[in-house]
Symmetry: C2
Subunit: 259 residues, 2 copies
């Protein structure tokens, strides 16, 4: 971009890294990395992304969910402002897309308060990568004309879910909440047999996909343990033409007990 | 990808081109273009994308909305199968992301029926590019923890809208439906003062953004005439740190006093 400032107080490019494979960043994102002085990166970003900015100083500021030991958001905000004031061009590299569950609002507010200019370069959000990996479109003709992206986890750790909002819902940050998410969705009106697709490390070579009826969603916990995942619920979780792509594990309990 | 078949019946890569600027395609998408024999491209794709596959035969199969003269979906399906049977590697280049309003289901079914293998490479969908262009995150802490992607237009040309489904909704293919969309959303319970952000040619150098209260959404028609656009409604349409009218600040999706 020709308008990037190169003298302090610098310029920040928020860049979506995509869901977990270096080659799912956009060309524009890669170009921003190539001219960065400093990169502040989420822990989720593929280490291979470093090859796109060997000249830059890399600082890992990862924060997944609300685990103890994660860098608090206020520290990330302060580091972002300080880096921009000290250096020319800062790339703030975020997993997925910055505008979807990326805490972008807080970091924009910090830059605004400090008078630092910025841009946002979009990226592939995890729901799209999961749909691509399972070859299951999020929207379908006639019966699936909307998709909701939501998070399973509230700040206090409670599982959030409301009545079905769309033909397909995709839940982020649900890894340690699968049993609770299943309960909440069923009590909100989703049928126990509603198809669910669970995808971890979407977009990466070691992607794992499994499918479950909603009432048995908790059984995905072991397979996907410790891996970032999204849960797709509803029409968009069903296989096109009933054909399963390779690598899909089908979990069906022996005695299905629909709710 | 090492497993691409190079002999008939070929292999199809569905590739998301991103929202309308060549540099918003992913590195993986660009790599697929670089080794394509044939590219079947939506009319929406940036012509500069051709530079990523100068070796390939390009066929434009564009279809925007349901305009007369557009290539019917069945013809696209047949062309896709025939191209894959005749050539080694076909890239089916779709605007935005293939899994979101991309008619991917129909084309997968056609390939399955013909026994042709395929993959899906995700892309940046227009809602994300619009949020990046306006620097307005689709999700916000506390008050905006979900976003629904929907389409304003049904196959019969009627405007589809239901009760508010999420804190933020993004409507695709709403260009010629703005007045109808505004009416339907208000009759479904959205307040007339609900903030709306309209972005056309998101991601491109000639992007245009405007904001409107929901009751005045139709006034965006002239500014964005003839340009592909998305309409963001609700919390995600508000400026970060901006001064908001009181009614917008207390916006509640289900508080139903339609204007």
């Amino acid at each position: 971009m020709s308008g990037l400032k190169t003298a302090p107080p610098g310029f920040v490019s928020f860049v979506g890294a995509g869901p977990g494979a270096a080659d799912l960043i956009t060309l524009r994102g890669a170009q921003r990395l190539a001219c960065a002085d400093v990169v502040l990166a989420d822990a989720l970003a593929d280490p291979a992304l470093r090859e796109l900015a060997p000249q830059a100083r890399w600082v890992e500021v990862g924060k997944r969910g609300f685990r103890a030991g994660a860098t608090p958001q206020a520290q990330i905000d302060a580091l972002l402002v300080a880096s921009a004031q000290r250096h020319g061009h800062v790339v703030r590299l975020k997993g997925g897309d910055p505008s979807v569950f990326g805490r972008l609002e807080e970091e924009i507010e910090a830059l605004q308060a400090a008078g630092i200019a910025f841009e946002v370069v979009p990226g592939v959000t995890a729901a799209l990568a999961a749909a691509a990996a399972t070859q299951r479109p999020l929207t379908r003709r006639g019966r699936g004309r909307s998709v909701t992206l939501a998070t399973a986890m509230a700040q206090d750790g409670a599982v959030e879910a409301e009545r079905p909002r769309a033909a397909t819902e995709v839940f982020y940050m649900a890894g340690r909440q699968l049993a609770g998410l299943s309960r909440r969705l069923r009590s909100a009106g989703w049928l126990g047999q509603t198809p669910c697709s669970v995808v971890s490390n979407a977009g990466a070579a070691d992607v794992l996909c499994s499918e479950h009826p909603l009432h048995d969603l908790a059984s995905a916990s072991v397979l996907h343990a410790g891996r970032p995942l999204v849960v797709t619920v509803g029409v968009g979780a069903t296989a096109v033409g009933g054909v399963l792509p390779p690598k899909i594990a089908v979990f069906e309990p022996l005695a299905a007990t629909p709710t």
